[in-house]
């Protein structure tokens, strides 16, 4: 692999990592600023799962190893699974508990 190729791969990987970090930032801002439980969950699960995918993709590119890439993919899938189920449970609990949901429920 020539020098040019390496730096190109590193550039792509770095952009993916930065983009992933931005999605995490957006998700965190949503978690802190959104008005109720459902909107906050929406921000967390959507933005963070995409952020995790981008970070995993960036790290996989940097590692240049199929085994590491497959492990990172597994980590992303597991994170997706955990986020989905826990968000579902929290939303369910919030639906039952009226005090947790304000009247300003957005279209999540």
């Amino acid at each position: 692999m020539s020098m040019g190729d390496t730096s190109l791969v590193e550039w792509i990987a770095t952009s993916l990592l930065v983009l992933g970090a931005l999605f995490y930032l957006a998700g965190t801002v949503g978690l802190l600023r959104f008005p109720d439980v459902h909107c906050r969950l929406h921000a967390l699960t959507k933005a963070d799962n995409l952020g995790l995918l981008l970070v995993c993709a960036g790290l996989g590119l940097l590692a240049c190893d199929w085994q590491v890439a497959a492990l990172l993919g597994t980590i992303w899938l597991l994170g997706l699974l955990a986020a989905t189920v826990s968000a579902h449970l929290i939303a369910r609990h919030a639906c039952r508990d009226h005090s947790a949901t304000s009247s300003r429920t957005g279209s999540a």
Binding site: L78, L81, A82, T84, V85, H88, L89
Partner: protein, 309 residues
């Protein structure tokens, strides 16, 4: 760059520790404690101690956090009318004690830094003799071969702690089982995660001989699967302790002591292990005992029974 990351982790640890104990709310403190544990695991990993990082993440953050949450729930159940956040007046001794503790830490820290660090003889001896054990992970070598009396006593301490907790469980009535609803997502999650926890714990156990891992980490991961099963209502706390529970509970201690004492009959010193197979056997038994102890502590009961969904 590295210095920036390390300083961020260090400052974050201090801030998280303060948040965990400053006591605005018990629940908040527990969450901060878990985040502290995860950050601490990151710090161990940065310092090149992946074994400690694994143990900190699995036991320090995961299992201890779950135990604290279950303790908080019991506290609320026991005194539902009492506000969860009692207003405590700060003792007049708090500030002097804090200052004394801080100066003690500072003196010890400065002393530790100023000492010329020659590599200790014990570490060199371990690395020189590691090849004879057949293990290539020096941590497992120390835990299971060179200092295995300490490990045996740790397992005994865990059992003693569980027995002490059992005395407390006896005093209070069983907490009512959490309501089980039709939660198809939870069933799907369990179907994927529980086999994976078994796979990962067996991997950690086997990997322990040549890379980071070992019985304690494997046991904690296995216990996490059990905790999930309890949370989902598939395992319910039960009273009484059948042999099927009692035997795995003491299996680690039993196998370790029997092998160690049997070797004495052949003239070997106390707890000299006959070979690599004994290390694996003891680690597997310890993993089962550690996992069951942690799960029972979480359940707050002396036994478990299965509950069909």
């Amino acid at each position: 760059m590295n210095l920036a990351v390390d300083s961020l982790i260090g400052l974050g640890l201090v801030a998280l520790a303060w948040q965990a104990i400053s006591g605005r709310s018990l629940f908040r403190g527990i969450v901060m404690f878990v985040v502290f544990g995860l950050t601490m695991a990151l710090a161990w990993a940065r310092m090149g101690a992946p074994d400690l990082a694994l143990a900190e993440a699995a036991i320090g953050a995961g299992v201890t956090g779950a135990l604290m949450l279950v303790a908080l729930r019991r506290l609320v159940q026991l005194h539902p009318d009492q506000p969860a956040e009692p207003k405590r007046a700060r003792s007049r001794l708090a500030l002097p004690i804090a200052l004394l503790a801080a100066s003690l830490v500072a003196v010890i820290g400065l002393g530790a830094v100023s000492v010329d660090r020659e590599p200790g003889r014990a570490g060199v001896a371990v690395m020189d003799n590691l090849a004879e054990t057949g293990l290539s992970n020096p941590i497992t070598g120390v835990l299971l071969v060179f200092r295995n009396l300490d490990t045996l006593l740790e397992v005994a301490v865990l059992l003693a702690a569980f027995l002490a907790a059992l005395a407390v469980f006896r005093d209070q009535e069983q907490a009512p089982a959490p309501p089980r609803g039709d939660l198809p997502l939870v069933g799907a999650l369990l179907a994927i995660i529980v086999p994976l926890t078994i796979l990962v714990s067996v991997h950690l156990l086997l990997a322990g001989s040549h890379e980071p891992g070992g019985a304690f980490q494997a046991g904690a991961v296995l216990a996490a699967g059990g905790v999930l099963l309890i949370l989902a209502g598939r395992l319910q706390p039960a009273s009484g302790m059948p042999l099927a529970t009692a035997l795995p509970l003491v299996l680690g201690l039993l196998v370790f002591s029997v092998i160690g004492l049997a070797m004495m009959l052949t003239g070997a010193p106390l707890l000299a292990l006959p070979g690599l197979w004994a290390v694996y056997l003891i680690e597997a038994a310890m993993m089962i005992s550690i996992a069951l102890t942690l799960v029972l502590l979480f359940a707050g009961a002396s036994g478990l029974r299965r509950e069909r969904p």
